[in-house]
């Protein structure tokens, strides 16, 4: 007969612990393997049964860009008075999509994984984090399309631009995870929350300078008072959109120096770092709230 379990696992040295204790987000990193499988499952399941499979991840954004190009580049082109406006819009769209996808799927994540949440003691932070990673994965094809169109229009990228785009992604990554955590727990306790979040997510694209040039934001101040552009710029998503435009759009225009002066705030970088710090604080807050709320999650699901 096999050796007894208590000897094999040297159980006398393992302490008695509470079976439900976890260390939050840190636990998620400790169970990377499960996280990887969860992310892979979502990615595989999305295109399961479709013949084109992953190609859809390229087709959809490509067609979206083509539409932007026709509408904003050819039809409205002159009226907007902004060079390569389709790229201006598409670059912002990539990061705004990443944000809204992360938050909406994160909000639903506990409920859609209720079969696991109700049965096994896994760290529940796992599910919003997995939602964020799945959304991040789906931005890759969009970045590929963005790079192709930039190259096609004549791209002269610079290192500062790449760093800016990277910071933009970092801000959204942290912010999306923080809001995903908060909203996922809130959505279990109060089911209408998901719908409220959805409503606000529909507004997000309009609160960032991508469908209109940044100069219009400065005009807000002239028209309605100095406070408005300041409030506008408190939105981390708007900051992230500006950062990714710094990386992609502005490096394709012919009057780059001029646009650098008028299409971005002077303090783009310092704002970016402060926003990033604020998002990290929000993540800590999100974790604390999640830990408090998750105790009642399994019975309320």
């Amino acid at each position: 007969m096999a050796e007894r379990v208590s000897v094999r696992h040297d159980l006398e040295r393992i302490p008695l612990t509470s079976p439900s204790s976890t260390s939050g987000l840190l636990e998620v990193f400790r169970r990377r393997y499960l996280l990887r499988l969860l992310v892979r499952r979502e990615i595989q399941a999305r295109y399961a049964g479709s013949t084109f499979g992953l190609a859809w991840s390229y087709i959809n954004p490509a067609i979206r860009f083509a539409t932007f190009y026709v509408v904003f580049g050819l039809i409205l082109g002159r009226g907007l008075n902004q060079e390569n406006f389709a790229i201006h819009l598409f670059a912002g769209m990539v990061i705004v999509h990443f944000f809204t996808e992360t938050v909406t799927s994160g909000t639903r994540s506990l409920i859609s994984n209720r079969a696991v949440v109700q049965k096994m003691a896994v760290p529940r932070e796992m599910f919003p984090v997995a939602s964020m990673l799945v959304s991040l994965y789906h931005t890759i094809p969009q970045l590929v399309i963005l790079t192709i169109v930039c190259l096609a229009t004549g791209w002269s990228p610079d290192a500062e631009g790449f760093a800016a785009a990277f910071l933009g992604f970092l801000i959204i990554l942290v912010l999306g995870t923080a809001l995903g955590l908060l909203f996922a727990a809130a959505n279990v306790l109060f089911r209408d929350f998901g719908r409220i979040v959805q409503t606000f997510m529909n507004m997000v694209p309009f609160t960032t300078p991508m469908m209109y040039p940044f100069v219009l934001v400065a005009d807000l101040g002239v028209q309605f008072g100095e406070i408005w552009p300041r409030l506008y710029m408190l939105n981390p998503v708007a900051e992230a959109v500006l950062l990714i435009q710094r990386g992609f759009w502005v490096t394709t225009v012919s009057n780059k120096e001029e646009e650098l002066g008028q299409a971005f705030p002077d303090d783009l970088w310092s704002r970016g770092f402060i926003m990033f710090g604020a998002c990290l604080v929000l993540l800590v807050v999100g974790q604390l709230v999640f830990s408090r709320l998750e105790k009642t999650v399994p019975e309320r699901l």
Binding site: P19, L34, A121, E299
Partner: protein, 260 residues
């Protein structure tokens, strides 16, 4: 001996919500009806389990068995008291958890095993055993959405009984699967028991509890009504057929149990 599970004065309260929408709640307030109510699913439950013991957890429907299992497995946290466990917990509690209809049997095995706490190497090593036990043949690489319900359940069971755990919780053992598979499951449970794993077995079937367990805990409306010897426990519950006709399922269970 090593203590495996400590349940100390544990209580768990649930809330009954009578109304769903704000409108209904407002109406109830106006009519001064109760909007919600609380009840204790578990009330001051205490016991200790030594490593290697096998406990039969019995009780009528709604007596708190599932809630107790969820507290021991760590899914829920008690409102009062403490639950402590030693080592890795697995069992027939999360069979098929994380299964995705569109993914293949193979992919789902890896997923479910990871949820139960197995590492990648461990799953690779045991994969052949798991596949052989599930016995779904060439369906292994097709989406589980196409499986028959029995095959689906077998796949979940096989993963659960192959986890290298210290505490094994079994809730839904004889609920699904055909006769040969049930037999195989019970035989495997005996193996688990003999290897010194703490077994926590929930069942209404007196026959299999007799075969499987060396101690019975009976829950009555959230309290421990009886804790001790198996025969006595079954008598305590009147599950020994003393006051009514033994039903057909019981017979089948007796038969199965004696097959092992």
């Amino acid at each position: 001996m090593v203590t495996s599970i400590v349940v100390d004065n544990v209580s768990k309260q649930f809330r009954l919500q009578y109304h769903r929408t704000i409108k209904q709640m407002a109406m109830a307030k106006v009519r001064s009806q109760q909007i919600s109510d609380k009840f204790w699913a578990l009330d001051g439950v205490s016991f200790e389990v030594e490593q290697g013991e096998s406990i039969g957890l019995m009780g009528l429907n709604g007596s708190g068995k599932s809630t107790l299992l969820k507290l021991v497995s760590g899914v829920m946290q008690p409102d009062q008291g403490t639950v402590l466990t030693r080592g890795r917990i697995s069992g027939l509690i999360a069979t098929g958890a994380g299964f995705h209809q569109q993914l293949t049997g193979r992919e789902n095995i890896y997923m479910n095993a990871a949820i139960l706490g197995m590492t990648e190497d461990e799953t690779n090593e045991k994969f052949d055993d798991i596949a052989a036990f599930a016995d779904v043949g060439r369906f292994m690489d097709t989406p589980v959405g196409n499986y028959s319900s029995g095959m689906f359940a077998r796949l979940g069971f096989s993963v659960a009984v192959h986890v290298d755990c210290d505490i094994f919780i079994a809730d839904e053992v004889l609920a699904v699967g055909d006769r040969p598979f049930k037999k195989k499951c019970l035989a495997r449970m005996q193996e688990i028991r003999e290897s010194g794993i703490t077994l926590f077995y929930v069942s209404h079937a007196a026959g299999s509890v007799k075969k499987m367990c060396d101690r019975v805990i009976v829950l009555e409306q959230g309290r421990v009504g009886y804790d001790g010897d198996v025969e006595e426990g079954i008598k305590y519950l009147h599950y020994d057929g003393s006051d009514d006709e033994p039903d057909a399922e019981e017979d089948l269970d007796e038969e199965l149990a004696s097959d092992i």
